[in-house]
């Protein structure tokens, strides 16, 4: 009997793997486009680290049980600027993947809870080092490192839910070779090949999923879960097409629940938003990490 894919529950015996790649290039310190009525502005990196810190916090409290964490989930969190590094300063790149247990001793700081509403951006615990931003966009390098980590992890966890990789970026990879024909341009094909190889890494429950969230500099001009490359072809930014090619299609079993996150995804739609504002970023992130809620 053929079992439905993307169906496995994450458990201690068969944990899940969440891979987060965060663009830490200099432009990530520019303000994030938020709802126009909201006076509060965050930099793109702040937005990403708040959302990520909150996710890590939610994971730890979910597993916090009588002095030990129930490890149902492994993490990889890598930043890329001039090179690839761990944005959690107490964890080195070579230590990944880490389990929830490891998070317990690796945070940067604990702050007081905010007095007001608790939402998806508040975490009293900060894991992500705010000094991570600066430099280039060595995305190819990061995906190369991550491919090895995912391959090794899958060998150990053949029956697990497939790994999910979320790449949070605001621009074009620039550690790419020059295009043969047009020396002004970069050739993204090594990145495409790499991502195709990563997408082929699979457990018995399905293939690794790559999602790309591109953060906005300017309001308007979304591309949400595009099905065809034509939908992003006209965007001048070369990142638009590059990230399209890198993304997986949203796994069919996820389509149903997309509506609950405010998304209407067509079958075959890529797991990708171009020029996302804060709210879409948050929803995309919650949608992409939802399988961890098993």
């Amino acid at each position: 009997m053929l079992n439905a894919l993307y169906n496995k529950r994450m458990s201690r015996a068969n944990p899940g793997l969440m891979v987060f790649l965060i663009d830490c290039s200099a432009s990530m310190s520019f303000p994030m486009v938020r709802d126009s009525t909201d006076p509060e502005t965050w930099t793109k990196f702040q937005a990403a680290s708040m959302i990520l810190d909150n996710f890590l916090y939610q994971c730890t409290i979910k597993c916090a049980s009588e002095d030990k964490y129930k490890d149902y989930l492994d993490f990889v969190i890598l930043g890329y600027g001039d090179n690839t590094f761990s944005p959690i300063s107490k964890i080195s790149t070579s230590e990944y993947p880490i389990s929830v247990n490891k998070l317990d001793s690796s945070y940067e700081s604990v702050e007081d809870f905010p007095e007001q509403e608790l939402d998806e951006t508040n975490s009293p615990i900060k894991w992500i080092n705010s000094d991570s931003v600066g430099g280039n966009t060595a995305m190819l390098n990061a995906f190369t490192k991550v491919k090895k980590i995912i391959e090794d992890w899958v060998k150990k966890h053949p029956d697990s839910y497939p790994p999910i990789l979320l790449n949070i970026s605001d621009g074009m990879a620039n550690d790419l070779p020059r295009d043969d024909e047009d020396n002004e341009k970069l050739d993204p094909s090594p990145l495409f090949e790499l991502c195709n190889e990563i997408k082929k890494i699979q457990t018995n429950d399905g293939n690794t999923v790559i999602g790309n969230i591109h953060l906005s500099n300017v309001p308007g001009g979304y591309a949400k879960f595009p099905v065809s490359i034509d939908e992003v072809m006209d965007i001048e930014d070369p990142a638009a097409v590059t990230l399209f090619e890198m993304s997986s299609a949203v796994p069919a079993p996820w389509l149903e629940k997309a509506q609950g996150f405010g998304f209407d995804i067509r079958p075959g739609g890529k797991f990708y938003i171009y020029n996302s504002d804060f709210d879409s970023f948050l929803s995309f992130f919650k949608f992409g990490t939802d399988p961890t809620n098993g």
Binding site: I61, S65, D67, D104, Y107, V110, F113, Q116, L118, P124
Partner: protein, 500 residues
């Protein structure tokens, strides 16, 4: 000033009602808002002219009803007021314009909510002799800025609330419950954690203020044990280890249930009669927690249950450690059957028997925890708050609309047969036990379902081949019960009384 409601002195505003009472009234009205308002309150739209007129009517007793042309209105002959700016054509700061400008100050984002509180106050004014126009707009506006905490914290919620409800019933013809209530988010783990991080301020009683909670990360992650709609925090109070149970879902009557349960245990010396049960204290309004509501952030007091912490391991862990030790298992099985017999003969029931709720202490004595579904005679005719852990309950219990089983002292009959039988089987044939499936012990919802579909799972085949009279007779009864939608389940002791 002396507050007209609580009769206490306060000095925040020149107002007939103190901030604290106003907040209470407002929070209360939020919670039990009449149908008249709820339809509109969630709609965030710019204030319309009509609403502004309405506010004016509410706040300053203007007689500006919808279709009346104010220019010819007897109160303001010859005045033409711009209803958006409040300015008057006479060019002076005339009476009409100053009154209307005041109205415009009432938060324009949601005039409906402001209308609602004015409406509520108007109804109360008769009782308390509050003239609502004497309440400064500043004070009403402060209700919309929950960042400002109520100043003088008082504990007179008790005095004011029942009276308030009565008043509302009288004036508004309001029903006490309705589906259209304003939503206040029930706290979950993070909200509770935030409160406990500030325990000196948030707990009412000294003993909890001074309690030592176990933190994994100080002030951010608490050690916890999850339940169905509760979670439990271990802590030390005055040197003793305790378990604090907090509720993560709003359950109807939960407060009343626990109060009645606590009283019943004490009045009937239940702990003395059944030492497997653990004494507990229920605190109705103990921990102040801040959560979101439709109208912003609200602080409310939430209940908790305090119980002795039972050191030990849960029954499933005990079996996993001892599944090859037949005599230990049989000892536990005996304790268990005696326990359920005592429950029933005292006309009470646990309601959710499963291995995680059964703790075996270091002396191999059994203790039962988690009384969320506990049955006592006072609850006769009610519904069970939860359907219990489905791997140990009759499949009909979790079916919607099912009236089976009755919520009475026989509530544990099915689960006790499952648990007792499992213990006997493992003590006799440890090979049948699957260590990977230790949390369910042996049976599961899946197995019950396939039996109902007429399939015979391997496990059942294997059990049928065990030569043991007690096991076989229990198995026979269990299979019979599973197949029926609402079987007459016999008690464990009745089934096994003539078998040795």
């Amino acid at each position: 000033m002396r507050c007209e409601v609580c009769k206490k002195e306060f000095d925040e505003y020149e107002s007939p009602i103190c901030d604290n009472c106003l907040r209470k009234i407002w929070n209360k009205s939020n919670e039990e808002m009449t149908n008249k308002w709820v339809k509109y309150l969630n709609v965030q739209k710019p204030t319309t002219l009509r609403q502004k007129k309405y506010l004016a009517t509410m706040y300053r007793r203007f007689d500006w009803i919808d279709d009346v042309d104010y220019t010819t209105h007897e109160d303001f002959p010859g005045h033409e007021i711009n209803l958006n700016s409040g300015e008057c054509s006479c060019g002076k700061n005339c009476d009409a314009s100053s009154k209307f400008s005041e109205v415009l100050e009432i938060l324009p984002e949601n005039s409906l909510r402001t209308s609602a509180i004015l409406y509520v106050l108007e109804k109360l004014s008769k009782q308390y002799k509050i003239i609502q126009s004497k309440i400064p707009i500043k004070q009403i506006n402060a209700l919309w800025h929950p960042k400002l905490p109520p100043k003088n914290k008082t504990n007179n919620a008790e005095e004011i609330n029942p009276l308030f409800i009565k008043l509302r019933k009288k004036f508004l013809g309001e029903k006490t419950s309705g589906s259209n209530q304003i939503h206040v988010e029930w706290p979950h783990y993070v909200h509770y954690t935030r409160s406990i991080a500030k325990k000196e301020k948030t707990f009412d009683s000294e003993k909890f203020k001074n309690a030592d909670f176990e933190w994994i990360v100080p002030n951010a992650i608490l050690v916890q044990r999850n339940g169905q709609f509760t979670f439990v925090l271990p802590c030390k109070i005055e040197g003793d280890k305790k378990a604090i149970r907090l509720f993560t879902e709003k359950k109807p009557n939960i407060t009343k249930r626990y109060e009645q349960l606590s009283r019943f245990f004490k009045e009937n010396s239940i702990i003395e009669k059944i030492p497997e049960l653990v004494d507990f204290n229920f605190y109705k309004e103990e921990l102040s927690v801040t959560t979101k509501s439709d109208s912003g952030v609200v602080s409310k007091k939430y209940p908790l249950v305090e119980m002795d912490w039972i050191e030990g391991i849960s029954l499933d862990e005990f079996i996993l450690e001892n599944f090859q030790n037949s005599s230990k298992l049989l000892d536990i099985a005996d304790q268990f059957s005696e326990f359920v017999e005592k429950l029933e003969s005292n006309k009470i029931g646990h309601g959710d028997l499963h291995p995680k709720n059964i703790i075996i202490d270091s002396n191999q004595k059994m203790k039962l925890i988690d009384y969320d579904c506990f049955y006592i005679p006072l609850f006769k005719g009610q519904k069970s708050p939860e359907s219990g852990q489905s791997d140990f309950q009759h499949p009909s219990r979790s079916k919607k609309g099912s009236n089976f089983p009755k919520y009475d002292e026989t509530i544990d009959r099915f689960s006790s047969i499952v648990i007792y039988l499992s213990l006997l089987i493992i003590s006799k044939e440890p090979e049948i036990y699957d260590e990977k499936n230790s949390e369910n012990i042996l049976f599961s919802e899946e197995i019950f379902d396939s039996l109902r579909e007429g399939k015979i799972p391997n496990l059942i085949e294997n059990i049928k081949s065990i030569s043991d009279e007690k096991i076989q007779i229990l198995m026979k009864h269990l299979l019979e019960y599973i197949k029926l939608d609402s079987p007459q389940i016999k008690s464990l002791s009745e089934i096994i009384k003539n078998v040795r």
